[in-house]
Symmetry: C2
Subunit: 541 residues, 2 copies
């Protein structure tokens, strides 16, 4: 590792000397050098520690960020600890899109859409419930520890900031093959949660608080629904356009580089176009990712498929590491800690309040909504969400990460700087909460999940619906004849079949919608936009 | 294509209205949207026109850029035609590195090193000769058309600006399989030329012209050699470090995403580190690319190999298209044309002078150096560079492209703006020359090469040294026993062998050095840094 350190020392020394006379603005060159070098270090360290039971990549990146921040702080003789001002624009324009697009691109669509209603209830209603609890709790408890003087909008913003979760750490521990449904719920909730909290945060920022309370709440919800629908449609449209372009234009001759470039550029375009039209880029790019992996991905060469799958994952990985690293380096920024004038006791009080509200706010929706989901699908053949799985879902969303930091900076600073002591306190509290949840909760995740899912093999059977369940399971026997009948007789023929379908729809709405969607997909969408039409029906579960 | 246009119109309308209230700075969002959308358009258009005899991708991108510039100009009612100020920092920090790294990564190393001396003489001495001719010519002829008032450094900078070539267009036409040596010469010269002209340009910029003339020239050459050597060494070191890290750390278990991320980040780090240390990032990243593809690439998974190969090519492709697009859009910037106060006649004179000097400056080194190269390797079994091939090499380097524009902006503007009429004239002349060479010369390239290499199959036999030449060719029979003998007897044993080697070295220096390098590579480098050791010797030609 000697050469790493040599390179680091050279660069950090240059950064500390505020020097370098390279081409262009030397400050930028130094920052990029340090970040690139430290990112490489994180990659290698993360890989070496992969088998470790306690440490995960998030923790590694945060700690390395801290150490680098400390080194810069010492080398610059206490003047500054960071070499790059936090820029939410950088975060929202360059770093977030690849993470969210990759989430959409890699999501196991079958599981995602099977659990669609549950995921959406967690990801949307859950955030609303959590925001309400955190906001009200802060409003009620902050004055009791001697910290107040915030607007109503600020309290709502706090709710949104501390309701955005970071599930990456938990996902590294849960096995997608062994507990596919649990994985899908945690993963799906994480993505929808990201989108919801950002959209809700923007809706809150634009609030005119002087209006009537009830109407304000209604307006937020309507705004949210409008944003959700239009953003999704835009993403789907751009995804379908890309799929069609790839299918129509590239028939017969293929160029991997062009295909990859087109997919990446169109994905990015979907995000930027949504931002331009005041929609939610995060939702747009997520659905664009889903549609692209469902249709466009099938229209390209084998090399393009491998390349896109890995390159989007790599970009997302680099972006996530970058954020955690940045948060780590930023934590030692002295100015913020100086600007915040709260006593240690008050800080501790604020920290305690936020952590308690986070724990409570999440419990307040995970358990009720799980029970409701179990009740709704009681007649379905799918196994319910067990209590242990509920605990895992609850735990998975306790970590706070990059989105929280970005939202906090967005609301309470101007270009990463704040002179208001109250706002500085909120920023430092956010950093402490992110650190604490990522390090302590992250540390405990692996042992906790080992305790909750002790016999993975057994839990697979409980959760049901794996990829490997063959056609010998009873539900497949139930579905297969139904589909064959319908396919044999064509659409819209046979009274018996229609009656059966209606009773199915009433009994198991999501499942039935899913079946119709698949038929529609096979008949109209895939022939136009691409994808294998004659896929194996028996794999459907 | 309707949806393309719809998206375009929406975005361009927003850009023209200078509007959009999206998150962050709306101007940035608009610019990114327009560029991403137009890049997508270029991709599709380039693909559709691929089979066309006259148009190539450079021409397409330039023309589309022009059209978009015109649309923005009209929609903004003549106020401005560009939505992004030219920023050499953007070019040198973000756009150039992937292009050069990819060049190093994709270069056919065998051919490249076989023709090493010829390529270097074209790429280094050629540029020196061309700079001398263009600078002297401009100094002598510019006053004759009523345009003067430039410093000596400016004339030298003009020489460097108009000595940097853009061979992409020609490379699209020459077949790597049919004329491998010609392809390698053109490709290799293009890369070394990029590096040389940038390095030389920087050396010229830092010149203190008040010193004695002779010493100045010596200093430029010494500076150049120092930069060349240190930059190359840095690139090789970082490439080897990456190879070693990948080999040592990833033994047994692999993670494609981490491997790809590490390679990409280390490559970028090499460029930035070189810039930080005042070296030539372009040379560093080029040699880093060569070393990575020679060693590191063999230490990663099959998926990583496919992904890296394509992703670097894709990035390079996007970066090149971006530049041409930008040049096209920038061409209609009214301010520059207004600031330049020269008459039409003077402009035409300047244009004529530069084009003539470009044609002459290139002829002045391609033909003599080719003849010299043929003379040097007369005793080798390799076929000489035929006159027709010399013409193709000459023609391939006539196009001027992105590097010329970037250097011109760097020297003659401040952040893309100039108020000096003389400097504005140079910028507009550069744009005209780039346009003319790319459009007119580019247009003629395919017909010219068809005329020069009429029977591709036959020319393969003349050029010799293809990939498919089996062990039945006489030269392989000549080399194989030599290698077997040496390998059987071990190193340093046998007087006969040493004598033979020395006579070989005197007779065919490059070839013999290459053989020793391969032995060293197989014995020491590959076991440490990775790569197949037991490669097929018979494939060596």
């Amino acid at each position: 590792m000697a050469w790493w350190w040599e390179a680091m020392v050279v660069v950090v020394a240059a950064a500390a000397a505020d020097g370098g006379t390279g081409a262009g603005s030397s400050g930028t060159v130094v920052s990029i050098c340090v970040f690139t070098a430290v990112l490489c270090l994180c990659l290698v360290a993360g890989h070496l520690l992969e088998e470790n039971k306690w440490v995960n990549e998030s923790i590694t990146a945060l700690l390395i960020g801290c150490v680098v921040g400390a080194v810069i702080f010492l080398l610059s003789k206490g003047k500054n600890s960071r070499i790059l001002r936090f820029d939410e624009q950088l975060f929202f324009i360059y770093v977030l899109p690849p993470i969210i697009f990759n989430a959409g691109f890699q999501v196991k669509k079958k599981q995602f859409f099977h659990n669609f209603l549950t995921i959406m209830s967690f990801g949307i209603f859950g955030v609303f419930i959590s925001v309400a609890i955190v906001s009200t709790g802060c409003y009620w408890l902050f004055p009791k520890v001697g910290f107040g003087n915030l607007d109503a909008v600020d309290y709502l913003a706090l709710g949104a900031i501390f309701s955005s979760t970071d599930t990456v750490c938990t996902l590294q521990v849960i096995s997608q093959d062994e507990t596919p449904r649990l994985y899908s719920l945690v993963f799906g909730e994480g993505v929808v949660n990201d989108a919801t909290s950002v959209v809700l945060f923007n809706a809150i920022k634009n609030l005119d608080i002087s209006q009537l309370k009830g109407r304000v709440a209604l307006k937020v919800i309507l705004d949210f629904l409008y944003l959700f629908f239009t953003s999704t449609m835009l993403g789907v449209m751009i995804g379908l356009s890309t799929a069609y372009a790839l299918k129509a234009l590239y028939f017969g001759r293929h160029s991997t580089d062009r295909e990859v470039a087109l997919m990446a550029l169109m994905a990015y375009l979907s995000y930027m176009l949504a931002e331009l039209l005041d929609l939610s880029g995060i939702l747009t790019v997520f659905f664009c990712g889903i549609v692209m992996s469902h249709y466009a991905w099938h229209n390209v060469t084998e090399s393009s498929r491998i390349t896109t799958r890995h390159i989007f994952a790599t970009l997302s990985f680099i972006a996530e590491t970058f954020i955690l690293l940045y948060v780590g380096m930023d934590a030692l920024d002295i100015d913020k800690w100086k600007t915040s004038e709260t006593s240690f006791k008050t800080s501790l009080g604020i920290f305690g309040i936020i952590i308690s509200l986070v724990l409570l706010g999440r419990a307040a929706f995970v358990f009720p909504l799980s029970i409701m989901s179990n009740y709704m699908s009681r007649s379905s053949e799918r196994a319910p969400i067990t209590f242990k799985h509920q605990v895992v879902i609850w735990w998975a969303g306790l970590m706070r990460g990059a989105v929280s930091i970005a939202l906090a900076y967005n609301q309470f600073t101007f270009s990463g700087v704040t002179l208001d002591p109250v706002h500085a306190t909120i920023i430092t509290s956010t950093i402490i909460v992110v650190f604490f949840t990522t390090l302590v909760f992250g540390f405990l995740t692996r042992p906790l999940i080992s305790a909750m899912l002790p016999q993975h093999r057994q839990s697979t059977a409980v959760a049901g619906g794996g990829h490997s369940t063959g056609s010998n399971s009873p539900k497949d026997d139930f579905i297969l004849p139904f589909l064959s009948l319908e396919e044999a007789s064509g659409s819209g023929s046979g009274f018996l079949q229609a009656k059966r379908s209606i009773s199915m729809l009433l009994e198991r709405p999501v499942h039935t919608v899913h079946i119709y969607w698949r038929k529609f997909d096979d008949k109209f969408m895939r022939p136009i936009f691409g994808g294998p039409v004659d896929r194996d029906r028996t794999n459907y579960s």
